[in-house]
Symmetry: C2
Subunit: 329 residues, 2 copies
């Protein structure tokens, strides 16, 4: 039986519950002989502490919440994978909830996290989140939050972000180094701060070279990226490189490349910001600037543990990006 309790063991051995509890914890107050008896019986009865009771007493669930827009997203998946790996090592489990990029669902989720008294929360806010009040409520409930990827402006919060600027600049510099003169750059939804940052940094860098012609486009999804690409590839003048701000855009661009039967890197070049899984799907593999969800997860977890250890001063941390050469440029 897995529903063995301290009480049951105590009754069988005719000792008190507290003695059983202490024996199992190897408390010095208990004699070795009693300890042995208790441990043996616990073993055969397959005693397993009831987490609900332990949590209630300790006011600590050893569960971290993770809130993301959607779980069917490679980037967040690797983030979660990283957090899960580390959490497991420290005896924590994860409660994952999706917001669906919907602020109301977000509030609902926060309530669930509060009621379940998670030990901490990793949160990625939705695109439409304006009111941060629900998140302040978490702080009142003394639940630490580490924001990641899409973070609020508010700097009373802990934030772990990609070094968007660096990544965009790195991509731009690479394009210039390769001598590209006619660049099509496709960005995501320009409402998003992440888009704004990447756009500003990228353009700022490219614009320094007056020789280079730069076309900027925005696409809200893969299909739009595909359409925009086709639109800019005319027989008369083709861009000699395409910059893709995200995986979503990359897949759209690549689809149109296949459609137009463009050979990389000869007919045109491609560089993307990506965590690396999609670039490896293609031949030649796509050259990209790595923005790793996995690394982000590791860093976020580290920050969370640091916070729990008492280092509660809010911080904004970045993970650095890295150039990964494929054959597309």
């Amino acid at each position: 039986m897995s529903n063995t309790t301290l009480k049951k063991i105590a009754k069988v051995l005719d000792i008190s519950i507290s003695t059983v509890s202490r024996a199992l914890k190897n408390h010095p107050d208990i004699s070795v002989s009693t300890k042995q008896k208790v441990m043996e019986l616990a073993q055969t009865l397959e005693y397993e502490p009831n987490a609900m009771a332990v949590n209630l007493r300790s006011k600590n669930t050893k569960v971290f919440g993770v809130m993301i827009p959607s779980i069917t997203n490679n980037f967040y998946d690797s983030f979660i994978a990283a957090v899960e790996e580390e959490a497991r090592k420290s005896g924590y489990s994860l409660m994952i909830l999706q917001s669906g990029d919907n602020p109301e669902a977000e509030i609902e989720n926060l309530k669930i996290y509060r009621q379940n008294r998670v030990s901490g929360l990793f949160a990625c806010i939705s695109q439409e989140t304006i009111n941060m009040a629900p998140f302040y409520k978490m702080k009142e409930a003394e639940i630490p939050i580490v924001f990641f990827d899409k973070v609020p402006d508010d700097d009373t919060f802990d934030k772990i972000c990609l070094a968007d600027k660096d990544a965009a600049v790195l991509a731009a510099e690479t394009l210039l180094e390769k001598g590209k003169k006619n660049i099509l750059a496709i960005f995501g939804n320009n409402q998003l701060s992440i888009t704004k940052r990447r756009l500003a940094a990228f353009c700022g860098c490219i614009k320094e070279d007056k020789q280079v012609k730069l076309i900027i486009e925005h696409a809200n999804n893969s299909q739009q990226a595909e359409e925009k690409t086709e639109h800019h590839f005319q027989p008369k003048q083709k861009p000699d490189a395409v910059f893709c701000m995200s995986d979503e855009i990359l897949t759209g661009v690549m689809k149109s490349m296949q459609k137009m039967n463009m050979k990389l890197p000869v007919d045109t070049g491609i560089i993307a910001l990506s965590d690396g899984s999609f670039p490896k799907l293609y031949y030649p593999e796509i050259t990209y600037i790595e923005t790793s969800g996995y690394k982000l997860g590791k860093l976020a977890f580290e920050r969370m543990m640091d916070y729990i250890m008492g280092n509660t001063e809010p911080k904004e941390l970045f993970i650095t990006s890295r150039y990964v050469a494929g054959g597309s440029l």
Copy 2:
């Protein structure tokens, strides 16, 4: 304060805890006037029941466990997305743990699920899982299990599977209908029962037409699929169609197609078993037999709730597959 308790409310109003509890639950024993006072105060004090305490008392956590090999997998993601959607509607949350296809981690996870007294478990067993004893332990602990996708043979368990046979047969029939005569079929790890089932059904169907030449290959990952494909595409004799048992294999095959500069569907044809996201990445889009993780999740959840409602007779259920025409065949 979110850490308001019944006790606190009771003290302020100078009534007993039980009265507060009943008032909040709209119990008929409590007068309307008291109810109002309690509810108001609860509102202003932002009372939220402590799930740990409620769980301990009710012996029900309203949390479902979900164990999968890896979260960075499209198929499982959609499964989880589906389960999460439904779970939310019924007031359940999810605790997701990865096994990493490692039986030891699996056992560790089961322990976590037991200690946390999850209300039920959705499990996909790892490739190497032989000993089902750890899962029996869950049953002893009265935690219902619904296996999905990769399920054990043991039919004392509830199982929700893809209709592998049907899907494989559907793919085979499609190939024959299209008049393909020289087929390369790439399957996954042939230790897996899922591979065996798909292989048997596919071959059984193809073999009925003596005219057709069938080459069977196995690949344990995307890269192997790529290599095997290249190996079988010689200048002298190219297969006129490739069957891909999974997304993983499809991506490998497609990479080699790009490398060899093969045009679909003219140079060769491709059909895959997939949940549909990867086929849409390519141009032309890949023709596939849908094996939806999302649908699987919906069905698994339905079964779980059914079980909890008392219908504990073990069942094996299948979700039907469907032909989705792309432009690759």
